[in-house]
Each structure stands twice: as C-alpha cells, then as structure tokens.
Symmetry: C2
Subunit: 325 residues, 2 copies
C-alpha cells in the first residue's frame, strides 16, 4: 500500500493516493476500511463483535470489486480536472464500504430463523448461531446504518466526504437498497406459490440481487465522474451482469459442495425455492448465464473509445463468469 | 430513480409554500408526505401493507414535530437570502419523514419476539402479530432504507433534494441512527445485569432515545440554516429534552393505563427493566424530568435574540412536559 506523499490539506488523512488495481489490492483496501470504520463506530459488545464477525468473514467482495473496477474503468479515461483524484478515490472507497455493509446486513437478516433459518454462511456459523437472534437483528440494523454513514460522515482514514458526490451516491443507493428488500419479500411470496414462470423469477432477482449490483456499478461510475452516456452503458452492463450472477448462483448451488460454497449446497432445493436450474435445467441455465455475461461484457466495453480503458470492469466480468463459489 | 439533470425550476412540484405552524398542521403535513412516499416506493404486498400499517398508526409524531418546530424557530430569524424558503421547507419535510421512518423501524424491530416480544404498540397489535415475523423484519429494514431515501432521492410532491443540505443531514442523522442501535444493545445488556446506577442508565438513554431526538432538532436547524452558535444551543437543548423525555416515559409507564398509553402499561416492571422510577421513585423522577425540561427550555430560548422567534420550539417543549402518553 502506498501512502499519500502530499496531503491536500492539514485535514487530509494518510490514505493511499493510488487506486487499487488488482482484485487482491481492492480487497485489502476494503478490509482495511472495514476495520477502521468498525473501530471508529464505537459499538458496544456484543454488537461490535457480531459486526466484526460477519464483516471479516471470507466473502468474495463482489460488489466492492464492482465499485472499484468501474471506478478504474472510467477514471482512466477523463474527468481528472473535476476533482483531485485522491478525493474521488476516497469516495469510491466509501461506496465500496457502503455496498458491502448493505449486502452483509441483508445476509445476516436473511439467515435469521424467521427468514431462511440458515446455519452456515461464508464458511462459518451464521451470526444468530454464534451470538443470538437479538444481537444478529441489531447487527443487521446497524450495518445498514453504517452503509449510509460511510457515504456521508466524517471518518478517520478518509478525506472529508464530497457532499455533492455523496448525495448523488445516496440518491442511487437508497432506492436500490429498498428494491433489494422488495426482492426479498417477492422471494418469500414465491416460496409460498406452487409454480413460477421465468418472467416472475427475473422480476424477483432484478430487485433482490440485481438492484444492489446496479448500485455498485453506478456508484463506481459516479465517483469517477461518468458521463450520462457512460452511465447508460453501465446500467445496461449492470442489468445483464446482475441477472447472470443470480443464474450462476443457482447453478453453483446444485453443482458445488458445501465446503466450496461456504454455505449449504442444495439449499435452494431443500427450501423448494424457484431457481433457474429448476426452471430450465443446468445445461440451459449455463448457456443463459454465459449469454448474459457476454451481453454485460459488450456493454461494459463501450464505456470508453479506448478499448483498454474499460479493462478493469471487463476483467471483473470474466472473473465472475469463471467463479466456482 | 436516478439523479436528475433537469434544472430545479423545471421540475418544482406543487407543494405547500408555507411551513406548517400548529402541531396539527405539522402532523397533517407529515401524514400526507408518508402517504406519498409509500405510494411512490412501489413495495410488494404484504410489505407495503405492513409499512402503511405501522406508519399510519396514531403516534405522537414527537420527532417530526421537533424537526418542524426547530425549523420554524430558526427560519423566522434569518438566512432567508441563502435559498428559496420553499426549498428549505421541503428539506425540513424530508427530515421530518426521515426521523419518523427511522423511529418506527426501531419500534417494529424492538417489538419482535427475539427483542421485547410486545403485542401492542400505538394502540394496535404489533406488526409481527398482524403480519408475520419475516414481514415485520423486512418492514423495519425497508423503513430504515426509506429514511435515507427520503433525504436524497427524487420524490413526487417534493422539490429536488438540495444535495449540500441533504449530505449535511445524513452526516448528522446516520451516526445518531447508529447510536440508537447501540443504545438498544446496551439496554439488552442492562436487562441481563442485576443492578445499574444512574450514570449507566443515562448512558443507555443518551444513545437509545437521546441520539434520534438530537438528530431531529439538529436537522430542523440545518434545514433552516442555523449558525454554529445556534446549533450549539440546539444540541444543549436536545440533550436535556432527550433525557427528560425518557425519564417521563418511565414515569408514564407506571402512572398511566394501557388504554391511555397505547402500549402495555407496567411493561418495564414486567420485563424488570432498569428505569428512572425504579432508580429514584416516581416523585424524585418527576422533579428530575421537570428540571431537565427547564434546562432544555432555557437553552432553546437562547437560539435567537428575539425571544419570540424561538417560540415554536419552546411551545413544543411545554407540550412534551404536559403530555400524558
């Protein structure tokens, strides 16, 4: 990790001046920012322990990677004159934190006994198993709060939040965080229903999984100063990738082991969930996921005339397609 | 919803230009804004029904009244040149919505079986009793999201959010929403502990109740363009009022009936909760609440050289002291 050589002002904290480029460096940046945020948040025990437990589990960090990769894809092309690069990168770090906090809160609540009642997540016992239901409930609640706090509040190791960018981020983020909950409700409704067609399944996942993926990609773009045309391309890419990601999740649930997944394999079937595999079989679902990833890749490639510029986002899409958990 | 690029003038919706002044008018404004927000939010059934159910119950609307009353107390004095009054008032409406949404989410989750397991709230069966636990969990989750969406997103019947004010509001709001959850955790910890002293009890309520009251008063001030000195006075008033409000809640729990309260009277004693009444008896607790309200009233009176200007906030404090539920 390089350290800023010339702080912008006396307030500017020590922070990496150069955006992380490899996935490992992005994850390391996020891990560092999670640790700093939770230390600063001053939560009482066992709430802090529960938040640390779920936020430091070995997640893939897909959504933060989307923020950072989109940021890197747009940022390399233009807009450097608008703001100092360090300040924009710090906003991308805040956005990456926000999407991971929000995603993790949704997992913690989704695992509760009144929801999916899951005992294993990210390769470890779920939050309410290790702590208790009340603590898991409050941990999920406060992780959602921290997601918005990460965008707006004063935080150690971050430059002051850029109010205009932060407000645009929340305006994109909050409605999609709301759609994620709508998707969870639709998913519960679907469990109670005997049959479901593809358009209904896609409507569920457009909200449940797709909305936050769209938020992550758009937020990375906003931090980098994406133009309207670039944002339109990002939305198109995000819609395809979000759906592809869910189709692939359904496939992995039946083709991989519990050890590989870090959560119970075959749980969709156990819960009689509507999935793409149930709807169209593994083979057709795999072809469908591949074509969606290709669509997303093509849209992502158009965000810059310089085909190399979009490489971080394209690389991420290729990595997602190749993932095995 | 994406951030609009249209000029403000092109999209100003029909909306009351004059701030509500009576408590009834403030509540009517809030009710109207809640209805519009929930219609726009496009939530699936039964999530929408659950949100409507809890948001339209007959609450006192204390926190929105704090936003509007503080706004009216500061706004009458100065700052009219900074922004159009209508735009600032719309931000106060957004802030009032946000604090009520956040407060209500905390009640819905607090009533869940894994928390206080309460069956009655605001004079009606609790959310998880009428719907089910999963729906109540998701309703609480999405009400928190909507609180932040209300500050930042495009909404029908509101002028576009002022990005700079909205970001300042979230920077004040989010850390206090986080402290509210910390307070709930401290409260659960205290239930497990055999005895508790006054300083510990105050630490719990500074977070659990006080933080959101502080947020409401500060947010009203920010929308009205409060100076640093005014904000300092508002914080002092808020700290006293927040504590007074909780002491009074503890008193009402033992002196009023379930019918009057709209929630089970005597529930603190049933749950063996640490309260000011348990700590110091009803009489001393009443004297303590009165002195705290007087401190809050005195601090509120200093926000303007013109003693009439602070009248809306002082009137609210007097009304709070006189409340019987």
């Amino acid at each position: 990790m390089t350290v800023s050589v010339l702080p912008k002002s006396a307030q500017a904290p020590a922070s990496p001046a150069r955006p992380a480029t490899s996935h490992d460096a992005m994850r390391a940046q996020l891990d560092q920012d999670i640790a700093a945020l939770l230390t600063a948040a001053d939560l009482p025990s066992p709430l802090l322990d529960a938040c640390r437990y779920v936020m430091t589990a070995s997640g893939k960090r897909v959504r933060p990677l989307m923020v950072f990769s989109t940021f890197a894809s747009i940022d390399s092309s233009a807009h450097a004159e608008q703001d100092p690069a360090e300040s924009r990168y710090d906003m991308a770090r805040r956005a990456a934190l926000a999407v991971e906090l929000l995603h993790t809160y949704s997992l913690v609540h989704d695992d509760l006994p009144c929801m999916d009642d899951d005992a294993l997540r990210r390769g470890q016992p779920t939050c309410h198993i290790v702590f208790d239901e009340a603590t898991a409930l409050l941990a999920g609640d406060v992780l959602q709060t921290l997601a918005f706090e990460a965008l707006h509040a004063e935080l150690p190791t971050f430059r002051p939040s850029d109010a205009l960018i932060a407000s645009r981020l929340s305006a994109v983020f909050a409605p999609r965080a709301r759609r994620m909950v709508s998707g969870q409700m639709l998913d519960l409704n679907a469990e109670a229903s005997s049959s479901i067609v593809q358009s209904e399944l896609e409507a569920i996942h457009r909200d449940k999984t797709g909305a936050l993926i769209e938020a992550a990609i758009l937020m990375g773009g906003i931090c980098a100063g994406a133009s309207d045309a670039q944002q339109a391309a990002l939305i198109e890419a995000a819609k395809a990738i979000g759906l592809a990601f869910q189709v692939q999740d359904d496939i992995l649930d039946v083709t991989m082991s519990t050890d590989d997944l870090g959560k119970p394999a075959g749980s969709d079937e156990k819960l009689d969930k509507s999935t793409y595999v149930k709807l169209m079989g593994v083979e057709t679902a795999t072809e469908y996921a591949e074509s969606l990833f290709a669509t997303g890749r093509a849209a992502a490639s158009t965000i810059s005339k310089d085909s190399d510029a979009a490489q971080p986002l394209v690389t991420l899409i290729d990595w997602l397609w190749a993932r095995k958990k």
